[in-house]
Amino acid sequence: MLEYLLELDGLTAGYAGKPIIHDVSFRLEKGTITTFVGGNGAGKSTLMRAIYGSCDHLGGGIIFDGRQIEKKTPWERYELGIGFVPQGRCNFPDMTVAENLKMGCYTLPRNEHRDRIDAMLESFPMLARKIREKAGNLSGGEQQVLETAMVLLSEPSLLLLDEPSLGLAPKTQGEVFEFVKRIAADGVTVLVVEQNVHGALLISDKAIVLEMGRKFLEGTAEEVRNNPNIRHAYLGGNLSEEEVSE
């Protein structure tokens, strides 16, 4: 058994040939949850896209499950078992929730669609209530949950979540984080970007801090949470301990 599911080795990536991410390296163990922390524009989303293959690869290596994948297209990576939920709106607005979920099963054998969708609806009952509604008409939070569900349907072994709690009410947020924790326990490796850092760190094993497109710090969630510099720069500073655990 391989110990590391994903290894980044000096990865450089960006847009239109210009690097945004510089020389980033780290390794992810199977079944762990890792959070990226960083200010707005630090390059977190770009790093996620680089791992999924939807921005320009400019150097370095990505090893997934023992295979070099940096030259592969996004759908090839998808086939290998990488699932990516991008930041902001990313669904098929003119299709119903049911159809969107069916699209989530695009690469799966037909006979599995029903069961998987039913199971997903059970985990996220708010989608079941809106099953006939067009995705574009859902509320912001409902769409966010839908998108996460669409990717989860294919049961990826590496899950990239770019701000999964964006626009989620605390209760829904709790549901989503619970779900993530559960699948991680089942062996799925999860990489999360969150501005809701407190919530995310609570479920994470590890945290990586990005600054100006470079890796600034790496440590356990606990370490990062208690690092006073990090607290000041990214966690909203002087919060009382009580507020943090809210």
């Binding site: 939920v85 699209m103 067009k134």
Partner: protein, 293 residues
């Protein structure tokens, strides 16, 4: 009123309406699936028609093999156009798609005119000018064949789009490329399939029209403007709407042509379209609008 006369007009109109529908459906498909208003649609049709007009005498083909040649030629053209131009389009670049297809239309039209001259080609099939007569009503076999071709096509297309994963994937890619990537689709491949499908419809339409009318460079333009009006009436991108509007327009035009000066026949489609839009700005068969926030 002379009901035989009326029925003959209706029969003429039905056939023409079905031919319109064949053209309009391809247009609606490209719009519905890729968000492209294809100004080169008439020229793709032209390619099909010329392929048929040249292949029939050159290889002594019969009607059906001729149709297949036309469809294949159009598919090759569509594939080429997709790979070189349309695949460069991003999501929602609707005006750009118009301009690309407009450029293609200019190049193909004038290129064909340059190569084949404006002299029309006559396509003669094994049906000749023979037809069926029911009482005093008569329809030529070539027209019936065209009508049957288009009816079969609609059925196939309807099933494809609504009941298969491929059809749904095409719609998905048109709505959001990023989301398509997110669920592991290959937008480029799906886009190519959609264009090829639409091109084959053009080729089919060209093959259907060729024996009925004259094959000459401006054949496509005249028909395609009408098809634009049709897909607007039907609600942009709605296949069922396009079929309905096309058949209705064919019949109405025929009636008008039978009772009023020819000018009104030509204006009918346009005037109907404007009226429909006044009453229902999104067309007869459109889906509802989207929320803003």
């Amino acid at each position: 009123m002379d009901y035989i006369y009326f029925l003959q007009l209706t029969a003429n109109g039905l056939v023409i309406g079905l031919i319109y529908a064949l053209i309009a459906v391809g247009l609606a498909l490209l719009f519905g699936v890729l968000g492209i208003v294809n100004f080169a649609h008439g020229e793709l049709l032209l390619i099909g028609a010329y392929a048929m007009a040249i292949a029939l005498p050159a290889f002594g083909l019969a009607y059906i093999p001729g149709v297949i040649v036309a469809v294949l030629t159009a598919i090759i053209a569509g594939w080429f156009i997709y790979e070189v131009f349309l695949s460069k389009l991003g999501h929602g670049e609707f005006e750009r798609s118009i301009l690309i297809t407009m450029g293609l239309s200019i190049v193909i039209l004038n290129g064909i005119q340059y190569i084949f001259t404006a002299t029309p080609l006559l396509v003669n099939t094994e049906f000749g000018y023979a037809g069926v007569s029911i009482g005093d009503i008569r329809v030529a076999w070539t027209r019936i064949a065209a009508a049957v071709l288009s009816a079969v096509t609609f059925a196939a297309l309807y099933v494809l789009l609504n009941y298969t994963q491929i059809g749904r994937a095409m719609r998905a890619v048109s709505q959001n490329r990023d989301a398509a990537l997110m669920v592991g689709m290959q937008p480029r491949k799906i886009g190519r399939n959609a264009v090829i499908l639409a091109a084959s419809l053009c080729g089919l339409a060209g093959a259907a029209v060729a024996p009925v009318q004259l094959v000459q460079p401006y054949l496509g333009q005249f028909l395609v403007f009408k098809a634009f009006a049709i897909i607007i009436i039907g609600g942009m991108g709605s296949i069922e709407g396009a079929v309905f509007a096309a058949i209705a327009l064919g019949v109405i035009e025929s009636w008008i042509g039978g009772f009023f000066p020819v000018v009104w026949q030509e204006a009918a489609g346009f005037i109907i379209m404007i009226t429909v839009l006044m009453l229902k700005p999104s067309g007869l068969f459109s889906r509802g609008g989207m929320r803003v926030g």
